[in-house]
């Protein structure tokens, strides 16, 4: 038998976390073990990328064992074209985030261990094919993030951490109720209990309409909070502002994706009719998030808070793409998830760098950094430009296709979200002008201003490389995504 890649993907972070936690005495060793144990999943995911048969579609590398028989819960793992890029993104970002956090000296072993636990949770979410399993991983993610914010966070970390914890916990519990409803409804159709996604989604056409509408509401609430979509977004800025850089990178790069992933993996296939009934709500929220988030960015003084709000705006684009229910829109949405993961990682790392070197993230107090730290400035520009959708960078194709799909589906309604393209350019370019350019400000300690260290430059360089690579050859990702969409579109009544 060939090796169970997916189980190994989960196993190594787990082992790594345990081992790393034990290295309280020796921080250096803790870092190295964390690095190793995050490198292994990265290798595995690369292996998976090569082994995966793009054209085949459907779930591959499947593993399935009965777990809790009496409730029909089983341990089912599998990946399709939607989850493959996410898995790669996860392993990559965790690995880089660990490198980036090389200078963590406070409770190093715990920090690194938590990073690995986080990886475990997120990977689990992306590869679980059983609703129960999915939910467990979904919740597992919260705890390490709670500690990351709460122990290594900024001044108001206590507030931010508990807000994040409870807000998203409420959301996931509501989602859980929805999953229960699905479970019983499917059981009444099938005549046997099962939490397996495929089993439940297979009978989704038999679910009553009102049932679908209500349950979709529950699920969508859970996901909308996670994405986060206006008006359920307020936990995000606080969490980001307080979280340590590594935490923010994973929070924005991966945790938000879990929300949109849930929509495409669960809400749509399981409740197609519900999706159709809710379409306009989704569109409205998506557009609101896009424009609202973009305008909010203009107002922000804190660089990191600005980036946080930009995440809201960009995840709105994902949602908009999904809400078109067209192959183009959904494919673009998934691509945008991937793109945003890479880009936002760079942005938050840069926030960390600026904070680190200058001791402040307050845009008005910054200025002229480009003169003293050219490399940092370059990375920051790459991040900003990629995020504002510059062609040749990964974000552009996704954004462009989403808007194409939007015009295709909703016509002139496009004119509202498209404004964000200009506004986004507005706040990024303006922020660049005020932080990187102009004369150096008094507030910043010019003498000791130091350019990026190796452990900061390396991840940034790698990410920038990927941003450009996938920007020039989006097909590299899209060829995984597109064949997998047939199933979803089919259920949604497309194609």
């Amino acid at each position: 038998m060939e090796l169970p890649i997916l189980s190994l993907l989960l196993l190594f972070p787990l082992i790594g976390a345990v081992i790393t936690f034990m290295m309280g005495k020796n921080p250096k060793l803790a870092k190295i073990s964390a690095l190793v144990f995050s490198a292994i999943p990265l290798v595995l995911s690369l292996l998976m990328l090569t082994e995966y048969v793009q054209t085949a579609g459907g779930y591959q590398f499947k593993e399935s064992f009965t777990w809790i028989e009496s409730l029909g819960i089983s341990y089912i793992l599998g990946v399709d074209g939607i989850s493959v890029p996410m898995v790669f993104l996860t392993t990559l970002l965790v690995f880089l985030a660990i490198i980036f956090s090389w200078d963590i000296d406070h409770r190093t072993n715990q920090y690194m261990g938590l990073m690995l636990v986080l990886e475990l949770g997120v990977l689990g979410v992306f590869i679980a094919l059983d609703y129960f399993l999915f939910y467990i991983f979904w919740e597992v993610v919260l705890i390490p993030m709670y500690f990351l914010i709460n122990v290594w966070g900024g001044p108001r970390r206590g507030y931010a951490a508990i807000k994040f914890f409870i807000y998203t916990h409420v959301a996931s519990l509501v989602m859980l109720l929805g999953i229960f409803a699905l479970y019983f409804e499917a059981a009444s159709v099938n005549g046997f209990n099962s939490f397996s996604m495929e089993t439940i989604n297979a009978v989704s056409p038999f679910f009553g309409n009102t049932f679908q509408v209500i349950v979709f509401g529950a699920l969508f609430f859970g996901f909308a909070v996670k994405m986060p979509s206006f008006p359920f977004h307020t936990w995000l800025p606080d969490a980001h502002v307080e979280a340590p850089t590594g935490g923010s990178v994973l929070l924005a790069g991966l945790l938000l994706k879990m929300g949109s992933y849930g929509v495409i993996r669960i809400a749509f296939p399981a409740l197609p009719d519900g999706a159709h009934e809710w379409q306009w709500v989704m569109v409205a929220l998506a557009i609101l998030s896009i424009v609202y988030g973009a305008i909010m960015c203009l107002a922000q003084k804190d660089l990191k808070k600005m980036v946080a709000y930009s995440s809201i705006s960009h995840m709105g684009i994902v949602m908009l793409g999904f809400a078109t229910f067209t192959e183009l829109g959904i494919a673009a949405g998934v691509l945008q998830m991937f793109a945003h993961g890479l880009i936002t990682a760079v942005l938050f790392m840069m926030c960390g760098v600026v904070q680190h070197k200058t001791g402040t993230r307050n845009i008005p107090r910054l200025g002229g950094l480009a003169a003293k730290m050219p490399f940092a400035a370059t990375f920051m520009m790459i991040g900003f430009l990629a995020s504002l959708g510059l062609p040749g960078m990964v974000g552009f194709v996704a954004e462009f296709s989403v808007f194409t799909a939007t015009f295709d589906a909703f016509g002139w309604l496009l004119l509202i979200p498209i404004t964000s393209v200009a506004i986004t350019a507005g706040y990024y370019i303006w922020a660049m002008q005020r932080t990187l350019f102009g004369p150096l400000t008094k507030e910043v300690d010019v003498e000791h201003l130091h350019d990026v260290y190796w452990f900061e430059a390396l991840p940034l360089a790698v990410l920038s490389g990927f941003i450009v690579l996938f920007g020039m050859f989006p097909a590299l990702v899209l060829d995984y995504i597109r064949p997998a969409l047939g199933a979803v579109i089919g259920l949604l009544g497309g194609i």
Partner: protein, 653 residues
């Protein structure tokens, strides 16, 4: 061998140079100057060669591949589409880029290590600009369109530590971005209506497409051009863009990038031509821009300012020509239309040469006197012979004095506008504006020239002269000046080479005339003399007010309406203020408002809930007062309540 097979190298070689300079430039002793010259030069060689191939054989070269398949019915392609128009653009872009890069090696010499960044960005620019020219579909054009925008942003902000430069860069990016958004919308319309963005497929599909949507598409695409070619009302970024190095102004903001908009209009010409309204709109924007910019140039205090406004104005001419053409086509005058089409592009080419030359000349002047203020120059003629003479040629050319290049193209543009006047009266008005513009152009160009090279040296030039470098700029700077001056003089004669310009570059109907016919056509029409008179009149006025002061400009603008007008022009019709009002007061203010909303309403609700719960917890907790008898009472009370509940529910059931 067929050189066109290698056309893809045209952008790739400069981009190669970009990569090499980018990564290794800092190590090189000249910070990548030579490499850039080689890269751009090699690109130019192939470009000129293939342009020659194209123009002589008149063939069209196509090549493309599917870049990314988005979905079963949407895919984006990248490719090459080379026709005579592209060939003309190739000549202009590659050649001027090459000259400018050479010029830069000398001009930027004092910048030291920073040249590394400069050459990197210049190479990138040349590469993507050529890519834009090669594009075979609107999407690809948009991709490179954005990238040239990026380069312009970076290069305007080259001296980023200057707040003014940083601000100018931001303004350039954002204002053009507004245009880009419209461009994007246009793309979406085409894409969803026709499911392709390939030039030829789009042109072919026009007859069957929904005319209303096509009109919208044309309108939005032109919106892109408005931004990039600095047309009214998005023109105001270009004057600020002069914060960049003069070479950059010459290359990007005079000769190449700003023409991208015109090129877009040329490519979208058939789409625009489907709608009379849009064509009219295009023409009107062109005419208005030409006029407004010219007025602002009249009293611009800085040498580069004059040139910047003049650029905007000339771009207006081109757009006017194309708009008139589209209008004529729509009205069925196909031959005139194709001439107009050619005229616009003809002016594009000529303008690229003489304006490039003027900027480079201005560069060498600034290089010499270290100031941009016209009021601090003067009397430099005898110290900078080459510069002054070459610039004089360009001035004459742009003023439209026969037989220099500017004359031919400007005359064509005006005459086609006049023709369009038959079909729609608006164009008559535009023609009048055009003529006035011609007059003003002649005036402000010579105002500049006289103020720089003639009269008594004012303090700026005095210092320069006393500081005793009485020598002209180095050869690396002079050579490009001379070459360009030659072209500024002669590029117009392309009318008489082979089938002539209009025989090579036209829309649908070639317009081949023998030299005699051409000359006859030009010099028999009264319009020609109108424009000549306008030009000469402008020069005369300038001569008498700035060289042999019979008229004192100061006196004229000293008081009353002229004064107010003068001030208004110096304030650029308050456009910068308006932009700031929209940007800061409007959008930023609103965002601050929204921030409050977010903080106190949306987040307020969230925090409110938790606060409420905790306070409720406090109260509930206080109920537990510790007296066992109150507990007992609660118990009794509870029992009765439960009983009542049972009855109530029982009743309800």
């Amino acid at each position: 061998m067929d050189i066109l097979e290698y056309a893809w190298l045209i952008p790739v070689l400069p981009l190669l140079a970009f990569v090499i300079v980018g990564f290794l430039g800092s190590k090189m002793k000249d910070k990548g100057g030579i490499v850039s010259i080689l890269g751009v030069g090699a690109g130019m060689v192939i470009a000129l060669w293939s342009a020659y191939e194209l123009l002589t054989t008149g063939r069209i070269y196509r090549d493309s591949f599917e870049w990314v398949i988005l979905s079963s019915d949407y895919s984006l392609e990248m490719g090459i589409f080379l026709d005579s128009v592209a060939a003309m653009m190739l000549i202009v872009v590659s050649f001027i880029s090459f000259l400018v890069v050479i010029y830069s090696t000398a001009y930027m010499h004092d910048e030291g290590p920073r040249r590394h960044r400069y050459f990197t960005e210049i190479c990138l620019f040349v590469g993507v600009m050529l890519g834009l020219v090669l594009a075979n579909n609107f999407f690809q054009m948009f991709v490179f369109w954005e990238l040239v925008g990026l380069c312009s942003y970076l290069l305007i902000g080259f001296w980023f530590e200057r707040p003014s430069a940083a601000r100018a860069a931001k303004k350039a990016f954002l204002v053009t971005r507004v245009g880009d958004v419209m461009f994007m919308i246009g793309l979406f319309i085409l894409f969803t209506e026709l499911h392709t963005l390939n030039y030829e497929s789009v042109w072919a599909a026009l007859d069957t497409a929904d005319p209303a949507m096509m009109a919208f598409a044309a309108f939005f695409l032109f919106g892109g051009a408005i931004g990039k070619s600095a047309q009214f009302p998005l023109h105001d970024w270009l004057p600020d863009a002069m914060e960049g190095p003069t070479t950059v102004s010459a290359l990007i903001h005079a000769a190449t990038m700003v023409n991208a908009g015109v090129y877009l209009v040329a490519r979208a010409f058939p789409i625009i031509a489907t709608s009379a309204e849009v064509s009219l709109f295009v023409g009107a924007i062109g005419g208005i821009t030409a006029f407004l910019a010219a007025t602002m140039a009249l009293c611009a205090p800085k040498i580069k300012g004059v040139l910047a406004y003049s650029t905007v104005s000339q771009l207006g001419y081109m757009i006017l020509g194309l708009g008139a053409g589209a209008f004529l086509w729509n009205k069925g005058y196909h031959v005139e239309a194709s001439i107009a089409f050619g005229a616009g592009l003809f002016h594009l080419m000529n303008h690229a040469f003489f304006k490039g030359q003027l900027f480079l000349g201005a560069g060498s002047v600034i290089h010499y006197v270290d100031t941009e203020e016209l009021s601090r120059m003067g009397g430099l003629g005898k110290y900078m012979k080459v510069t002054s003479i070459t610039m004089l040629i360009s001035c004459l050319s742009i003023a439209g004095i026969p037989p220099l290049s500017g004359f031919w193209s400007k005359d064509e543009v005006l005459s086609v506008t006049f023709d369009a006047g038959d079909a729609g009266l608006t164009f008559m008005v535009l023609w009048v504006l055009g003529v006035l513009t011609a007059f003003m152009t002649a005036f402000y160009m010579f105002r500049m020239w006289f103020m720089v090279f003639k009269g008594q040296p004012r303090e700026g030039s005095k210092q320069a002269i006393e500081h005793g470098h009485h020598h002209e700029a180095p050869i690396a700077m002079l050579a490009p000046l001379v070459i360009l001056a030659a072209l500024a003089f002669g590029s117009g004669f392309s009318l008489f080479i082979g089938d002539g310009f209009f025989g090579a570059i036209y829309y649908e109907h070639a317009h081949v005339l023998s030299i005699g016919e051409r000359l006859e056509e030009v010099f028999t029409s009264p319009l020609t003399y109108v424009s000549i008179v306008a030009a000469v009149g402008g020069i005369m006025l300038a001569y008498y007010s700035f060289y042999k002061p019979k008229i004192s400009a100061e006196k004229v603008v000293a008081k009353g309406f002229p004064k107010a007008m003068h001030q208004l022009l110096l304030d650029r019709y308050k456009f910068p203020v308006a932009y700031d009002k929209i940007g800061y007061a409007g959008l930023y203010g609103f965002s601050l408002l929204l921030d409050k909303f977010d903080r106190y309403i949306i987040d307020g609700i969230v925090n409110g809930i938790s606060a409420f719960l905790i306070r409720a917890g406090g109260t509930v907790r206080k109920l537990q007062n510790g007296f066992v008898q109150s507990y007992a009472t609660l118990l009794l009370f509870g029992v009765s309540v439960v009983l009542i509940l049972l009855y109530v529910v029982g009743a309800l059931r």
